[in-house]
Amino acid sequence: MLGIPLPVILGQLTLGLVNGSFYALLSLGLAVIFGLLGIVNFAHGAFYMLGAFAAYIALQAFGVNYWFALILAPCAVGLLGVLIERLLLRRLYSQDPLYGLLLTFGVALIAEGFMRDRFGSSGKSYPVPEQLHGVFHLGFMVLPIYRAWVVLASLSVCGVTWFLIERTRLGATLRAATENARLVQAFGINVPLMVTLTYGAGVALAALAGVLAAPVVQVSPLMGSSLVIVVFAVVVIGGMGSIGGAILSGVGLGLIEGLTKVIYPEASNIVVFVIMALVLIWRPAGLFGRE
């Protein structure tokens, strides 16, 4: 294919799959929050960064290992999300949704500035947990076990979340509240509490992605700020609010990005945005969205 050896292509596709599973996990949280709250959570990248830092700080200060951090960090950051929803976002539901976007943008700036002041802009490295040391020999490339674990873990979490929302009673209530919150409330369901917990859960998903990413990328205060824009584009391509669309387009775009790195490396940063523009011209509601 284009004179590029097949192993190189397969290698980049595998790396693309790793990136894609991060995109999927992040855009899933964004889609869940958007679905119920109607808010585009600009702070998603900041929560991802805070998740990674929570794991880093827990390890440095208290010696908490990776596996506990995988549970504790999302809980801690999710709690922060709950607070933000209760104190700030809640008051904006009656306003134009643009204000939610602007508010979370402000929150992201505060979080990034604060962490930059505390930890500086340079990246910190987080060790790969010893159980996941080593590599798989795939023939065309050497795949670190940790990266395979990232793909497995993210995609399972995505699958479970999809199942919860689309196939269970809880999910049905959630989707009903998206359609008509007042009616669901009239059935005796505490919708405001549900909204708070949904935001917390979406934020926790971002933090989980952060912990998973910590050993792969450098933990730095700005690690989420450009990623969040890519994830926005992924969600727009998938169709805002579509859970399955967010997961599929996340993985798909990761693969396409990987392929672009082989064929035309200069375009790998912008390929997702170009695809977004094309999708919008062809299908303004996104690939899986409904108008």
């Binding site: 976007l101 602007l102 700036l109 940063n269 912008i270 997702v272 523009a277």
Partner: protein, 316 residues
Amino acid sequence: MRLRTGTGMVYVSLGILALIAPLAGVYPVFLMKLLCFAMFACAFNLLLGYTKMLSFGHAAYFGSSAYVTGWLVTAQGWGTIFATLAGVTVAMLLGLVIGAIAVRRQGIYFAMITLALSQVVFFVCLQAEFTGGENGLQGIPRGSLFGLVDLGGDVTMYYFVLAVFVLVYAFIRRIVRSPFGHVLRAIRENEPRAVSLGYRVARYKLLAFVLSASLAGLAGSLKALILGFATLSDVSQGTSGEVILMTLLGGSGTFLGPVLGAGIVVTLQEYLSDHVGAWVSVIIGTIFVVCVMILRRGIVGEFAARFARRRGAALD
């Protein structure tokens, strides 16, 4: 009538202040920077304030125009005026392309699309040859006005920038008060109704977008000439956020709001960045939160609303 004379007084006093400020010892480069960002915010306000289109990527037009002007002056030896016009043209074309895609969606979708496409511009500027990559363009000369007036001196340059600013400000006022501006406000208030009245809403929005992008480009070109450099930060997401904050803080949908907002934000940055480091970002974020939570009309908007309410009470 009282309100009119009131605003008239404000303009006269602001005008006098602007004319004597450099003579009274205020650092002209700071004033010029302020005017540039005020122009940028006014251009942005044309979209957010009068059409309710939140563009999250306006730095793309500001920065690309700064690069084009800077490159033409430095590497190609163009004159100041033509290089500026070329920069504005590039910003206009960019606004036409991005706007044509973005106006297909509304509200938050529009915001996300403009943000994503401005990121493309950022990466192109990062990788292109002529922008100087990470270093940006340095030492851009100011040149002269058709070889007649040398703009090298800070005070001369200041009066040139002030004149351009006043023209742009008057132009935006004229647009907003024209029949075209009324259609824009009709779209802001109720888009489906504007459609049902037979207006081709997408065309109006695109024209507003292109106008705003061009004027943002003009501000960017001037900024490159004033400070003598164009860097990646001019096209970055941070700059897009700043112009939103300026407009929101001062009062979107008011004429003077963006000018006041730009004044506050530029002053804050100028005096705080040396002292507090990364806290600038925390402070700016906090102002964002405060604006959204309790100051949605902005400072000028809040004043105008109070004033109108008091007048209403007096009439009863």
